[in-house]
């Protein structure tokens, strides 16, 4: 067992964990933060994307022990302080950027990382940045549109609205 201490969504947590415990298991099983999802076992689908020290990473491909001392943010910590949806979350709702919701936490976390580094990404840049996030429901149309809208861009001319 290894002792790990980290900050998750602003709260300090300390736990004794197995050496082989993944961050997904740590969040879901130990902290009961089940918003971080597991959709594959080859590090490709992105349903588990979280932020570790401000960087988007796949929680299924990282051990809890690797987050020692880190600041971790998950989908559960993304809403505004008053509980309302943040800008990205709100844009996903406004532009129907989700259907079954399973990939959605990873999409929101990835989008947040993108917009922090690139506040006005082009359509191509968004599609490129989403390479590691698979959605089977939306055909990506409304996800890309939502991210453009969340960055303050006018999406009214985009096809099909």
């Amino acid at each position: 067992m290894t002792k790990v201490t980290m900050t998750v969504n602003g709260k300090t947590v300390a736990k004794e964990v197995r050496g082989n415990m993944l961050m997904t298991e740590f969040l879901r099983d130990e902290l009961h933060l089940t918003g971080t999802h597991v959709g594959c076992d080859t590090s490709q689908c992105g349903a588990c994307v979280i932020h570790v020290n401000g960087q988007d990473v796949k929680a299924c491909t990282m051990f809890a022990g690797e987050a020692e001392g880190a600041e971790v943010a998950t989908i559960e910590g993304m809403a505004n302080a008053d509980g309302s949806l943040n800008t990205i979350q709100q844009a996903f709702q406004d532009y129907h950027g989700l259907q079954c919701g399973f990939c959605t936490p990873g999409m929101v976390m990835t989008a947040a990382a993108l917009l922090r580094d690139n506040p006005k990404p082009s359509e191509t840049e968004i599609r490129d940045y989403l390479e590691g996030n698979i959605c089977r429901c939306t055909g990506y149309h409304n996800i890309v549109k939502a991210i453009m809208a969340a960055s303050g861009q006018d999406v009214s001319a985009i096809a099909a609205e």
């Binding site: 089940t34 597991v38 809403a79 709702q93 079954c100 939306t138 055909g139 096809a159």
Partner: protein
């Protein structure tokens, strides 16, 4: 002016808030006190005889609670098939047993041999490695045509061969022969409809729980139809009466067909939890999903189209081999027959159509319905051969289609269905407007200036949705009715819970269904909630598939709401001291016609539950009504799609530059949701056409067993889509006039992608007739090499 509420409006989805904040509850998020974890030991060979299983060492491993093998299930039933197909000689299809855990033989890679139940998942996996299984390898049957050759190894020893059924359907032989004998031109195409894996992003999960105190079992499962699972599992597999069995499908992360079926793992955890008196949880990994979720498509077809000298379609004949996999999954047998053969007329008035289908057992994962189910296979072959005919005849592919369109409705096809409404000319007109066909040549020249080839492909499609009239499907072999049910429960203060048999796993029912009830009652949508996915809360339901939720369950909801209105009017009449016939309901107010006397919705509902001033001698208190709705016909969404591609002739890489879809879904309740459904279907259709392919090698090993080799469409594989649903001809036989929109995108898009690639290659002088899907860079390059 778009509406801001009710039918036709696009309110934001209420389910989104929980999904966007990580507070949805999917099956894997459910943990039951005292639960154990299950791991299945699965076959790593495609075909073999199990000569021994020794669990003795494994049973001693830490944390192991119990290990089960096929022997433990000998007295129980197998997984049933829900559709009996009759072959062309009148004989029933071959229906081999499908055990929960393998008995005697393994028949595909992934076939479960044993199940370890332990205190932790890792302990279960450790113990599974200690189970000693001896399997005598048998030759694997993978290729369908080889499977039917004499002397081929048999997937099921108790059958004569690997043929499940040989089915024929459509026009009289004589009429078909005559059409081809007299044809001025015949176009022929042999093609493959590639095997796919549905891949909802949430892998399957099942949690079984047993309550000894009342002898009740609960199954939490990732299902599109919890009542169907309860029926099949309770009645056919485990012999648990329905009142002792509860099936819950909570938030489900996508289905696309593969979560319709009753799976061995569901039966296993339910049964095992009764044996060990502890809850049992199984969570599929993605790798496990590839070898245990039912796959889709996998047809090999020869199609022939006969035309007269004026280019009218006169005859169509198809020969299809359809892969069933190793066992018959729940609805597998119906897919290549009644969901495929009945659509072969397409949008055209071809007078003679004949469909032949041989369904074949192979040592592969069972194949069943995947988004579109049979209809994409029909559309692909038909729209490819029509395109080929246009090229061979040197005529415009759109003009050839227009010339042969069905234009008068209702129209009875030679393949048994009657299209109630449609306007294929209108959707084609709309499509031409959307794609700027006039500007195509300029775009092609621009591509050529960069060394690229550009192609435009179009196609039409029709589908049969709103599945389905029970008396009809009963005659065709369905072992279930395909109605649906809804209960509208009005509470004392006027708020409403609607219990629906449809299941929402992305379709937005929680938002769209209240729009209908709110419109009918004239009250605010926020007063209405939808309850779904729990057999203990809902009267009954056949679930969500075949684009049926609104057309069938929505109709049941309308009928139940009509009953509510009728009763409420009686109460209102009493309160207003007026005649029931004079009561009008508008904007949530009951008014005596021609007067200003009215009573509000909430006053009436309160009276129903606090019946102090109430016609108790005439009607019961309370306000709750249930309706079952059985559709009179299928619905027939149809449309026209166009794809514009660019091909890199040096590498064969295809990029989609534009995609347009003009659909007729009849009336639309929530256009935002409808468009989203089309987008998603398009990505899956484009995925099938360009990327996805499930491949077995000759020994039955699955070569595409993860996302490392199975190419899922990603954001940069697809463009923004242009979609339109304004050419609406409402369905004539359901109360909402809706047709269904869930599958259209996946059904309609593959042919236009391939047609576009062929068009691009021809523009570069490559006389390529056909490329099988997926049109991967490698395949396109190979085709260009000749």
């Amino acid at each position: 002016m778009p509406k801001d509420h009710g039918i036709g409006a696009a309110p934001k989805r209420r389910e989104d808030v929980r999904f966007l904040t990580g507070t949805g509850q999917y099956t894997d998020d459910i943990n039951v006190y005292g639960q154990t974890y299950c791991h299945f030991l699965r076959s790593d060979v495609a075909h073999g005889k199990i000569t021994s299983i020794d669990t003795s060492e494994a049973e001693k491993m830490p944390g192991v609670v119990r290990i089960f093998t096929g022997k433990d299930f000998e007295g129980l039933g197998g997984l049933p098939c829900g559709w009996q197909v009759t072959d062309k000689h009148g004989a029933p299809m071959k229906e081999p047993g499908h055990p929960v855990l393998a008995q005697g033989k393994v028949r595909h890679v992934g076939d479960p041999i044993a199940a370890v139940v332990a205190d932790s998942l890792e302990e279960a996996r450790d113990a599974a490695e200690a189970i000693m299984v001896e399997i005598e390898d048998l030759p694997a049957v993978v290729d369908m045509k080889a499977a039917l050759e004499s002397g081929a190894a048999k997937v099921h020893d108790d059958l004569d061969d690997n043929l499940c059924y040989d089915w024929q359907f459509g026009s009289e032989q004589e009429a078909v022969d005559k059409a081809f004998a007299e044809a001025a031109h015949v176009s022929t195409l042999e093609l493959v409809n590639n095997r796919l894996v549905a891949n909802p992003m949430e892998p399957r999960v099942a949690v079984g729980e047993y309550n000894r105190a009342n002898d009740e079992s609960t199954l939490y499962t990732t299902s599109q139809n919890p009542h169907v699972i309860r029926l099949l599992m309770g009645a056919f597999v485990l012999n648990i009466p329905e009142h002792k069995l509860r099936v819950v499908a909570p938030d489900v992360g996508g289905g696309f067909g593969t979560k319709i079926f009753h799976y061995a793992e569901e039966a296993f955890v339910t049964w095992a939890s009764r044996q060990i008196n502890r809850p049992v949880k199984w969570t599929s990994t993605r790798s496990e999903a590839f070898m245990s979720d039912a796959h889709g498509r996998d047809h090999v077809t020869k199609i022939e189209l006969a035309l007269d000298k004026d280019n009218n379609f006169t005859g169509l004949r198809t020969d299809t081999y359809a892969n069933m996999g190793a066992y018959l999954s729940t609805f597998s047998s119906s897919v290549p027959t009644w969901l495929h053969g009945t659509l072969m007329a397409g949008n055209y008035k071809t007078p003679a159509v004949q469909v032949n289908v041989k369904a074949v057992f192979t040592n592969t994962v069972p194949v069943d319905a995947y988004r579109g189910a049979g209809r994409p296979e029909a559309t692909f072959q038909l729209e490819r051969v029509v395109d080929k005919a246009a090229r061979e005849l040197g005529v415009d592919p759109i003009a050839l289609r227009r010339q042969n369109f069905i234009t008068e409705f209702p129209y009875a096809t030679p393949v048994a269905v009657e299209y109630d409404t449609g306007d294929y000319v209108a959707t084609m007109d709309k499509l031409e407007e959307m794609i700027d066909r006039a500007g195509f040549e300029a775009r092609r020249k621009e591509s050529e200036s960069r060394g690229k080839l550009r192609g435009l492909g179009i196609n039409c499609y029709i589908e049969a949705c709103g599945i389905a009239p029970s008396n009809l499907v009963g005659q065709l072999g369905a072992r279930a009715g395909l109605y649906d049910a809804a209960t509208v429960r009005v509470n004392a203060t006027g708020s409403i819970s609607v219990m629906v048999g449809a299941h929402s796993h992305g379709q937005g029912h929680e938002t769209a269904f209240p729009q209908v009830v709110a419109e009918m009652l004239g009250i605010d949508e926020s007063m209405i909630d939808i309850v779904h996915g729990d057999s203990s809360k809902i009267p009954f339901g056949m679930g969500t598939y075949g684009s049926r939720s609104l057309a069938v369950c929505g109709s049941a909801m309308v009928r139940a709401t009509e009953k509510i209105i009728n009763k409420a009017k009686k109460i209102a009449a009493h309160l207003l001291e007026a005649s029931e016939g004079d009561i009008e309901l508008k904007d949530g107010q009951f008014t005596v016609a021609g007067t200003d006397k009215s009573v509000a919705w909430g006053d009436v509902t309160l009276a129903a539950y606090v019946p102090h001033n109430y016609p108790l001698e005439e009607i019961e208190p309370g306000l709750e009504e249930t309706a079952f709705y059985d559709p009179a016909n299928f619905t027939y969404p149809a449309g026209a799609y166009a794809c514009e591609v660019e091909v890199d002739p040096e590498t064969g890489k295809v990029t989609i530059e534009r995609f347009a879809a003009a659909d007729d879904f009849g009336n639309v309740v929530n256009p935002m949701i409808v468009e989203g459904q089309v987008h998603g279907g398009l990505a899956q259709g484009i995925g099938q056409a360009m990327l996805e392919n499930c491949v077995y090698d000759e020994s039955g090993q699955l070569l595409t067993a993860s996302y490392m080799d199975y190419a899922m469409p990603r954001a940069d594989d697809v463009p923004f889509y242009a979609v339109d649903h304004s050419c609406a001809t409402p369905c004539t036989h359901n109360p909402l006039g809706v047709k269904g929109c869930g599958e259209a995108g996946a059904i309609g898009s593959p042919p236009s992608v391939v047609n576009a690639v062929i068009d691009a290659l021809h523009s570069g002088g490559h006389k390529v007739e056909h490329i099988d899907m997926p049109v991967s860079p490698h395949r396109v390059w190979q085709a260009m090499q000749g």
